[in-house]
């Protein structure tokens, strides 16, 4: 459903003629994010200021046109997909770091600022921004705030919501508000807290004030091999059970390690059933003490071939293997699909064995590379989109894996968001009354339902829409 010419003209008036895209060919670029399903927007607008964002939303509200925010398009749950058509509001022209305050240890940024750019900019003050999604070289802070993104170091430092101090947001009526800010214990309801992670369904985010942390004086990174994924899982529980909360505790299975090693030559042990990447930080005394304790616990749990990074370069190499694992998996199959369900940490052995069985059943290779310390899975189902009829199999396998997560007391998503792909599963974990409470929030802030419709909440029509309109484009190399 193309937009009325009058709407396009209003959008052009709002942001300038050259910043409205409405040709069919150009729009196709915005069809996808990094998830599996796509839909072509009716128009893409690229505002440069909050005032322009507000004007665009007023146009959308006046004509009741869906409005979907879009950052780098690295999201994994379809949050930036214009499933009901309408306007994609691309924030990449809003990418200024407005302020870094080294004394208050805060930064004020526009939503299009890339996650890693912020940490690089803060580094000169010996500060860093803690949430570090594996897509941090590309993903934006606005997208991170909308999705409440995580990353390997969230085990110790917390996810995005723990680091957002305040935001400037534009609501569905075009009104602009500051929510929260630098001071703690602010008066009234925590609007900022509910808007972070609302996946673009409640507001557009136009500025984000974040907390920066002091760069730890010492970091120790250890790679350890385990005979099986089960022994590695037990080691994860044992480390935490000993009262040690590392800053990161990541697991990769044999399939992943093989691909990573072939690609990065980081010295990962390819004979291992699984490897753990453990990092602790602090002052030198504490990292050496903690790492010694970690080594003991890992050794008691059949850990072997332990290798501690001896230099920042070696540390980077170990992390390159972890953060680039998905790309390396392309050596096995060109495409992948993954959920990011979370199980209670003690259930890791059970869920990983269930995931393995599901992969075998569907004859699809599965590569596990995930935030083990949080119990946050990433079972990558590997496939080749050129093989006919493979996609329904892939999706069924993913759905079964998620079902197993829920049956073990887990959650549908740890950091990727519900978006499009998991909205149908929300009733697995939430009752009708639970969902009704969430809908009250939606109704209070976006009565017309123009903000990112079709996301989070189960849509009765959704099953029939499933995968309709697929273009057959290969899923590009992606981040997670």
């Amino acid at each position: 459903m193309a937009l009325d010419r009058a709407v396009i003209e209003e959008l052009r008036h709002a942001v300038g003629r050259e910043y409205v895209i409405d040709s069919r060919n150009d729009l196709r670029i915005f069809e996808r994010d990094a998830s599996i399903e796509g839909a072509v927007p009716d128009a893409v607008v690229l505002p440069a200021t909050t005032a322009e964002v507000s004007s665009v939303i007023r146009v959308a509200a006046r004509h009741r046109v869906p409005l979907v925010m879009r950052g780098a398009g690295t999201g994994l749950s379809g949050g930036a997909v214009t499933i009901r058509g309408g306007i994609a509001l691309q924030v990449t022209r809003m990418r200024k770091i407005l302020e870094i305050d080294p004394v208050a240890q805060t930064a004020l940024v526009e939503p299009g600022v890339v996650n890693q750019e912020l940490s690089l900019a803060a580094a000169s003050h010996r500060l860093f921004y803690a949430p570090d999604p594996s897509s941090q070289k590309a993903c934006t802070i606005g997208g991170n705030a909308a999705e409440n993104s995580g990353g390997p170091h969230c085990l110790y430092y917390g996810v995005t919501t723990n680091h957002v101090l305040g935001m400037e947001v534009v609501l569905a009526d075009g009104s602009v508000h500051w929510v929260s800010g630098d001071a703690p214990d602010r008066i009234g309801l925590d609007l900022c807290g509910v808007l972070v992670g609302s996946e673009g369904t409640l507001c557009a985010i136009t500025k984000v004030k974040v907390r920066l942390l002091r760069t730890p004086p010492s970091i120790a990174t250890l790679l350890a091999a385990f005979p099986t994924i089960e022994t590695a899982s037990q080691a994860v529980s044992a480390v935490i059970g000993h009262g040690i909360v590392p800053s990161a505790l990541e697991m990769m299975d044999q399939v992943t390690v093989g691909a990573v090693e072939a690609h990065y030559h980081a010295g990962y042990p390819t004979d291992a059933g699984a490897v753990l990447l453990v990092e602790v930080d602090g002052i030198p005394e504490s990292t050496s003490e903690l790492m010694a304790a970690v080594r003991n616990v890992l050794a008691e749990n059949q850990g072997y071939a332990m290798r501690e990074a001896q230099s920042p370069t070696e540390r980077d190499l170990l992390w390159a293997g972890r953060k680039g694992a998905i790309g390396a998996l392309g050596r096995i199959k060109p495409n992948y699909y993954l959920h990011d369900g979370v199980v209670p940490r003690s259930r890791l052995p059970q869920i990983l064995s269930a995931v393995g069985e599901i992969g075998v059943h569907y004859k699809l290779p599965v590569a596990n590379v995930f935030h083990a310390g949080d119990g946050n899975l990433h079972p990558n189902i590997l496939f080749d989109l050129r093989e006919r009829d493979v996609l329904p199999q892939v999706e069924s396998a993913g759905e079964e894996m998620l079902r197993a997560v829920v049956e073990l007391g887990g959650a549908l998503s740890g950091e990727h968001g519900i978006g499009l792909e998991k909205s149908a599963f929300m009733p697995w974990v939430f009752s009708a009354d639970d969902l009704d409470a969430m809908r009250r929030v939606k109704g209070a802030l976006d009565g017309q339902g123009i903000m990112n419709p079709g996301k989070i909440f189960p849509d009765p029509e959704r099953k029939s829409l499933h995968l309709a309109g697929r273009t057959g484009l290969a899923v590009e190399a992606k981040w997670w």
Partner: protein, 364 residues
């Protein structure tokens, strides 16, 4: 106290509480949730009479998974009872509110009261992972879950935290809990001048191994706590060079509860200029690392309003934590509402359209 009660209900299940809440709402009665009664004087005096709804009969530990470091409890459990349970596994909830003991978990979540450990661990806002509330229409609604990382659906935990029950009465909550530190060291130092005391607090805060708590008192005393591995903690304490103190100092400190009491919160570097306006005769204690101070008010409503104006100008706030009804009425418990009040009211209306819960008490 909330003086306008006409009766007291003490349900023993969440379902019963939801039913009683619904009945009260249908009858046009107000409901005042009561936990341990430790924050009973928080907020403005109620706008009308109503039913006091005690949660003290709903106080079970629903599940404590030691290996997962997650606990789910009913709202009426006291913080002390929960800590005892967690302590058996070497774990704890890093929450040490003032006017202890006797706080209930539900009360702490509804009021947002915190203590010195907030510096290291944040507030429950950061480790509350699931919540269940009773709504005036009789429904029970949950959000979040029992895993430490979860982005499934809206984060309603944040909305209910500190909302003084106005979006629903909290009946259960799940938390990420923490292992007790390998080593726990407390040190103190006392200074002649406040300039020295503030400077000393900043020195402690800037240590390469960050302190878990730093409290500064109007007497010039500074109390600091370091949690971590033994060698690192010892080295840090030695480098700082203060006097070793008994860890029991923190328990004593948590009992602080002035009869006339205000909390001042500001961006951390804006806190001192506000406290400097208090005058040397006033007693207070502050957490310079978080920007929060507590003032034992020796003065009248006009003094509160004057300091509140300073706090507000500094980007902060002043909230009354305790005091007689008349005093709270005169000074106002909350001060100038935020610019987004109309949005907050829309949310409140969506959950409690006839203002059944705590009418008149919260800012929204």
């Amino acid at each position: 106290m909330v003086t306008s009660r006409t009766s007291l209900e003490k349900p023993v299940t969440a379902e019963e509480l939801a039913r009683l809440l619904h009945e009260a709402a249908e009858a046009g009665q107000a409901v005042f949730p009561v936990g341990g009664g430790r924050a009973a004087q928080m907020g403005d005096p109620p706008a009308r009479d109503g039913v006091a709804m005690s949660t003290s009969g709903i106080d079970r530990v629903l599940e404590h998974s030691q290996a997962d470091m997650v606990v789910s409890v009913e709202a009426g459990i006291t913080l002390e009872a929960l800590q005892e349970q967690l302590g058996k596994s070497g774990q704890f909830l890093p929450l040490d509110p003032f006017n202890s003991p006797g706080h209930t978990i539900g009360g702490l979540l509804a009021t947002g009261w915190t203590g010195p450990l907030r510096l290291r661990y944040g507030s429950p806002r950061d480790f509350l992972i699931g919540i269940r509330v009773a709504l005036p229409d009789g429904r029970l609604a949950s959000a979040g879950g029992r895993v430490v990382k979860n982005v499934s659906g809206y984060d309603l935990m944040k909305l209910h935290y500190g909302a003084l029950g106005t979006l629903g009465v909290i009946v259960a909550a799940s938390f990420k809990v923490f292992p007790k530190a390998l080593h726990d060291d407390t040190v103190e130092s006392t200074y002649e001048s406040m300039d020295q005391a503030w400077a000393a607090a900043e020195v402690a805060l800037a240590m390469p191994m960050a302190p878990a708590a730093v409290e500064l008192f109007s007497s010039g005393r500074v109390l600091a706590r370091f949690l971590g591995s033994p060698e690192a903690t010892k080295r840090t304490v030695a480098d700082l060079g203060w006097t070793e103190a008994d860890g029991a100092a923190w328990v004593a400190h948590s009992k602080a509860a002035p009869k006339l009491w205000a909390r001042i919160a500001a961006p951390r570097h804006a806190l001192r200029p506000i406290l400097d306006k208090l005058g040397a005769d006033q007693e207070w204690w502050a957490s310079p690392g978080t920007g929060i101070a507590n003032w034992a008010i020796a003065g009248g409503a006009e003094d509160v309003r004057a300091i509140r104006a300073v706090a507000t100008a500094g980007g902060g706030s002043l909230v009354l934590m305790a005091g007689p009804d008349e005093f709270r009425h005169d000074a106002g418990a909350w001060g100038t509402p935020p610019a987004t009040l109309h949005l907050m009211r829309r949310l409140r209306y969506a959950f409690d359209p006839s203002q059944v819960i705590n009418p008149g008490r919260f800012v929204v």
